[in-house]
């Protein structure tokens, strides 16, 4: 696990990271979200021992990042934002170098390199120079070097930046598949991405943790509730009245459209709004045409947090 306690980092007069505290448990995927320059990369660099915090401590699997950097490095797979490839090296050669630097024993090295080439889909470019790769392949080589030693902890700084939608889905699936037994921290500013993979979100703004929790928790905390919308067959007035009487429901808007009522509401109780709505619809005998939690909740959370300056 990762345990970060009140770390701060200043560069000259600017405070890049300001008393950041969080933990990530095994099997968890945590997404770092925040505007550019919010401190995501700096936090990751501290976690991977590239930088030393001015204040505070952090531990990876129980090893202190300042006192035991070698132990921490051995346990972490890291993809920096810059995707560090040696341009004049061939992909295969590069991965062998990383395997050796990661101290994978000689007799295992070939097997590991081959396995990661297949897993990340680099078979077609193994003999190419890293400098001649497309953005998508560069990113994949970067992910491959982070995974080659099968680390228990993964730190990925914007692993999907610059990729096309198909490639994004591939990398996403890769992260999801490997995460069961691992600790994964990754950053992005694509909101849909974070909703698709992460169990938990940490929003960083101006060096501080602005919010930390599951998407539903954040929505409740920041927006006061989860947005829920649906369409049922019935009269608008009746629907409005019944929904408003439900416990934890706020801000009900209903529109009549040819015999159906489209509604939007905010649900403030910790349970799933679908459950409460389903019970009501069943009780009232409303035919339900559609009903869902609004995906845009996270966007609203993000904007609400990062707009306050």
């Amino acid at each position: 696990m990762i345990d970060v306690k009140t770390i701060s980092k200043r560069f000259g007069a600017t405070v890049a990271v300001d008393k950041v505290t969080f933990t990530v448990e095994k099997g968890e995927i945590v997404g770092f979200l925040g505007p550019n320059g919010a401190g995501k990369s700096t936090t990751m660099r501290i976690l991977t021992t590239y930088l030393i915090p001015d204040e505070g401590t952090a531990a990876v699997e129980g090893f202190d990042i300042v006192a035991q950097p070698q132990e921490v490095r051995a346990l972490v797979g890291y993809l920096p934002e810059s995707v560090p490839l040696y341009n004049e090296m061939r992909v295969e050669e590069y991965l062998y170098f990383i395997a050796q630097a990661r101290r994978i024993p000689l007799r295992e090295r070939a097997r590991r390199v081959e396995a990661i080439i297949d897993r990340v889909g680099l078979r077609a470019v193994t003999k190419k120079n890293c400098g001649n790769l497309s953005k998508g392949f560069r990113q994949r080589v970067g992910v491959a070097q982070a995974l080659i030693h099968d680390p228990p902890v993964l730190v990925l700084d914007e692993p999907t930046s610059g990729l096309d939608p198909q490639q994004i889905i591939e990398i996403r699936d890769l992260i999801r598949n490997i995460s069961a037994e691992k600790v994964v921290v990754f950053s992005t500013h694509i909101l849909q991405e974070i909703e698709a993979i992460c169990k938990r979100i940490v929003i960083i703004n101006q060096g501080r943790i602005a919010a930390n929790g599951t998407p539903a928790e954040l929505a409740r905390k920041v927006l006061g509730g989860i947005r829920f919308r649906g369409r049922v067959q019935g009269g608008a007035d009746e629907v409005r009245e019944s929904l408003a009487r439900l416990e934890g429901v706020r801000d009900v808007h209903v529109e009549q459209q040819n015999g159906t009522a489209t509604f939007r509401l905010v649900f403030t109780k910790p349970e799933d709004p679908g459950l409460a709505f389903g019970r009501l619809a069943h009780e009232k005998g409303w035919p339900v045409l559609e009903a869902s939690t609004e995906k845009s909740s996270l966007e609203d959370v993000y904007l609400a947090i990062t707009r306050t300056r």
């Binding site: 590239y50 070698q70 051995a74 560090p84 040696y86 090296m89 170098f97 990383i98 630097a101």
Partner: protein, 243 residues
């Protein structure tokens, strides 16, 4: 083991690009040119290599700067430094591995110049003792200049800046050993004899004894300690990023 990992990649890297070849050829070309044409070697009656070994460290100032310019600056520019500094290899191992790679290319180049003393041996009878100490001196001076270049490369992201600053530093360090320069510096600082003091730090004065065929422990200590100091500064320059 870790040093070997770094050394291997760095050494191969020299020959991935034409830069190493170009500088080796230019260096070897200049050395041969100096020897056979400027010195009117074939007209000299004794097979004397002294001037050859006196000229070599001056050419080394640029050659070692060219060998060291990429060592760190390119890692910084490409962002690969972040990779290197987050794998379980200690920074001093990286400093040493990189340095040894450069030193190997330097040694290979020096080895390729033995055609010159061999030619001398064919047409005359050179003093092999002086040639051996001359080579030892050239290697030690090159090793020192390379360490300084490596340190300078760790301070910038720009290869060209590293090349320029390292070359100029090398030339200045050498120039401090010229008597005329020492005297001028002495004059400038009045009675403090700063020129004499600085001259001690110039490779030139220490090469002098070696070129005369004398192996003095003090000269060896001078070269090795200054090289070690430059590498230590290199390590500090690399670690400084953390804070």
């Amino acid at each position: 083991m870790n040093i070997w990992t770094i050394f291997k990649r760095e050494f191969k890297n020299y020959f991935h690009s034409p830069i190493a070849y170009i500088f080796m050829i230019v260096f070897l070309g200049f050395m041969s040119f100096v020897f056979f044409f400027f010195l009117h070697f074939f007209l000299a009656d004794d097979a004397n290599m002294k001037v050859y070994f006196q000229a070599m460290p001056w050419f080394f100032t640029v050659f070692t700067a060219a060998l060291s310019m990429r060592l760190w600056s390119e890692e910084k520019k490409l962002g690969t430094l972040e990779l290197l500094m987050t794998v379980p290899i200690r920074s001093h191992e990286i400093v040493i591995g990189k340095y040894l790679a450069g030193l190997s290319v330097l040694a290979i180049t020096l080895l390729l110049t033995v055609t010159v003393p061999i030619t001398v041996a064919i047409v005359g009878s050179p003093d092999w003792g002086k040639i051996v100490t001359g080579y030892i001196g050239a290697f030690l001076a090159g090793a020192l200049l390379l360490a300084i270049g490596s340190f300078i490369s760790a301070m910038t992201e720009n290869q060209v800046v590293a090349l320029m600053v390292a070359s100029v530093t090398g030339v200045l360090l050498m120039a401090l050993g010229i008597q005329y320069v020492g005297a001028e510096v002495n004059n400038f600082f009045g009675e403090w004899k700063v020129g004499d003091f600085l001259a001690y730090f110039s490779p030139l004065n220490h090469l002098d004894t070696l070129d005369r065929g004398v192996l003095d422990l003090r000269d060896a200590i001078y070269f090795l300690s200054l090289t070690a100091l430059a590498l230590l500064l290199n390590h500090v320059a690399v670690e400084r990023r953390k804070y």
